[in-house]
Amino acid sequence: MNKERKRALGNPNPRNPMQAFFFVRSLSHKSLKTAPFRERCTAIRRAAYASMARSSSPRRAWRRAVLSSLIPRRPRPSPARLPPPRDQHDDLRRLIPGGEAIGDLCKLLEETIDYVSCLRTQVQLMQEIADSVDD
């Protein structure tokens, strides 16, 4: 790597360096290099979400949702719950991972804030990496 490229790489969110760390580490995974293109795409996407989730607070609902969606687990017999009443915020609920289980708008917004900030950081990070490779 030359110096310019090094300079181009930077953590977009210095407050949460673990996100970048997780992501780059999973990017440098050996199996990624040998996989075909399609699998690599999905693997990188999963890595992106996983790094987001892993670097976030463990209390976040979206973190749990993302991690559980990424990792196959034994399905547990859970008591059937009534879904929260349908309202105008359903679109948002569907977008935020784990949001459909959240009934309260207040909590939903909290999750949204966290999720959006994480996602934005992730996008910036990936953008930086892609730019540095392009140059």
Partner: protein, 584 residues
């Protein structure tokens, strides 16, 4: 035995470290917790902790800090010390010289130490005798040991008293740490207790000198408030004292200027911890009753406290000759302040309520008052005041707060008014971000085989940004109990293989010999299989570990901000620790 000594060390460290600057203190607290952890953990973890210590040493630039560190290291078990590599050779050497007392400089340190530590042992005995407590076998043993040692180092007694009078603060710390030791180490057999006490005494003595040297420059007043808060906890809840003593970091810095209240509090902590650890209720009760008075913050009781203090002053010889009522008032003031605003608010609330709802029944007002106590919302004139509408108002306020936060977060959302439109904007933004992630992952997948990443860049840039902005990331300081619980979790038999593998993996990143390898070359396959096998535990633990390491690194940088040049030199230097930082 080791464990108790280490706990004492950890506590003492925190007390003496209280004199240092805030940033420094923090890191020292972290370091202070390591030896305790070292005791609980097995091979792979020990390595990690040692590495952390190694980093810390790099960042400890000024002398008092280093001396702290040396003392800390003296508590490490010898096999571990032998593991420590180059930067530590100096420390271990210093440690040895400290132990032998060969060095002239260290000799000067050592001499006043022993008697003081002895004295700190004597005092509990005296108190015990005065309060008529007879069932504390541990203390008896220790005091008898102290007597023997005292005979050996004869002629120190006068010195002891003089110095103790001068340096009561240090004294406090020594005593309290000593007192805390039985709580952390439930009294084992009588034979073991004796040897324990000797070791602990030595350690305390050594640390004591440093407390002493730091005290001179220390005139801060806010420690007193911290002290007060810390003392109020044991008084109010004696059974929880042991836990709070270990876990609560706020109470750890001890004041340099020992006021009146402190001395009383000192006695209280002593009595409480002894009472809890030995189950001596008689001993604890009168003292606790006496000492709850300063914490209560009532003016009437304030007057009553000097009497109790006078008693204690007479008990603990001529140390407490001058009573400081204003100081007491100042210390209590913090409590009083805490209480007063609440009362005022309540009064205001009730007054407003009466104005607003004269027509309502008394029951109604009472229920509203109750709800107000918890929610703290004020109803304006003409607004509904029943509990439901109050709660609803609170919820709406919260939602609008979140909306404002989101408004700042989502670009182009500032001009939009109206919640529905804003929600639409947010949804669009989230969707676009998700699409971007997909797109970028495709893009990265096309170039991925060529990728050769170096975490150096990220972290270097990271550090630069921090230094430029002067902002430090808000560390979530992991409480001791959390870490130790993770350790206990790790020590559970069925998890051990996983932990061992995990440890190896992290070790690979951390050990300097492998530091030159890039992340791309790191063996990660092991770890990923682990993650698949035990997703929860490994995630948690790894995150904990990573964050912990992270904290250490960033702290190092944070308290070296003045020495930017030196840190940069370290970063650019080829040392192994450099790569440790960098890889995190």
């Amino acid at each position: 035995m080791e464990c108790s000594a280490m706990t004492v060390l950890g506590l003492l460290r925190r007390q003496s470290v209280g004199n240092l600057a805030a940033g420094h203190r923090r890191s020292m607290v972290e370091v202070g917790s390591y030896p305790k952890l070292l005791d609980n953990c097995n091979g792979a973890f020990r390595w990690r902790i040692i590495d952390k210590l190694r980093i810390e040493w790099k960042f400890l630039s000024d002398m008092p800090m280093r001396s702290h560190f040396i003392l800390l290291l003296s508590s490490l078990p010898p096999p571990l010390l032998s593991h420590l590599s180059s930067p530590f050779s100096a420390i271990t050497g210093a440690n040895k010289s400290l132990k032998r007392g060969e060095n002239t400089a260290t000799k000067g340190l050592l001499c006043p130490v022993l008697p003081l530590s002895l004295f700190s042992l004597f005092l509990p005995m005296e108190k015990k005798a005065l309060f008529g407590n007879s069932d504390a076998i541990n203390w008896q043993l220790q005091s008898s040991d102290a007597g023997e040692l005292h005979n050996l180092s004869s002629g120190h007694l006068n010195l002891i008293w003089d110095r103790a009078i001068d340096q009561t603060a240090m004294f406090d710390s020594a005593i309290s740490s000593h007192v805390s030791s039985p709580s952390s180490n439930p009294p084992a057999g009588s034979g073991g207790g004796g040897s324990d006490s000797v070791v602990i005494r030595e350690l305390i003595g050594r640390l004591g000198t440093i407390c002493n040297s730091d005290e001179i420059s220390q005139t801060s007043s806010h420690y007193q408030s911290a002290n007060n808060s810390c003392y109020s906890t044991p008084m109010n809840s004696p059974p929880k004292l042991n836990l709070s003593f270990v876990a609560n970091p706020t109470h750890l810095p001890f004041p340099a200027d020992p006021g009146f209240a402190e001395r009383a509090a000192r006695c209280s902590t002593f009595s409480c911890s002894v009472g809890t650890s030995h189950g001596a209720g008689q001993f604890m009760l009168p003292e606790a009753g006496k000492l709850e008075t300063p914490a209560s913050g009532n003016t009437k009781k304030r007057k009553a406290t000097p009497k109790a203090k006078g008693k204690e002053a007479s008990l603990s010889s001529s140390i407490t000759t001058a009573a400081n009522p204003p100081k007491m008032a100042g210390v209590e003031g913090s409590n009083g302040k805490r209480n007063k605003p609440l009362e005022e608010v309540e009064e205001k609330d009730s007054a407003e309520q009466q104005a607003a709802m004269k027509m309502e029944e008394e029951k109604g007002t009472k229920s509203a008052e109750l709800s107000k106590d918890y929610i703290h919302v004020r109803a304006r004139r003409g607004q509904a005041t029943d509990s439901h509408s109050l709660a609803e108002r609170v919820r709406r306020e919260k939602i609008s707060e979140r909306m404002k936060l989101l408004q700042d977060l989502v670009p182009g959302c500032n001009k939009v008014t109206g919640k529905a439109v804003m929600l639409d904007e947010i949804i669009n933004y989230v969707q676009s971000l998700q699409r971007q992630v997909e797109f970028l992952s495709m893009k990265l997948a096309t170039v991925n085989p060529q990728l050769d990443f170096n975490m150096e860049n990220f972290v270097n840039k990271n550090i630069e940004m921090q230094q430029n902005s002067g902002l430090l990331p808000p560390h979530s300081l992991y409480p001791l109990e959390a870490i130790s619980s993770s350790f206990s979790f790790a020590n559970m038999p069925e998890r051990t293989p996983l932990m061992a593998i995990n440890g190896l993996e992290l070790e690979n990143q951390v050990i300097p010999s492998l530091a030159h390898s890039n992340l791309s070359r790191n063996p990660l396959s092991l770890q990923s299989t682990c993650l698949d096998a035990f997703p929860n535990t490994s995630y948690q633990l790894e995150k904990l570990w990573d964050d912990d390491l992270q904290n250490v690194v960033q702290m190092g940088f944070s308290h070296n901000q003045e020495l930017v040049f030196s840190t940069k030199a370290i970063v650019e230097g080829p040392a192994g620790t450099n790569h440790m930082k960098v890889e995190l």
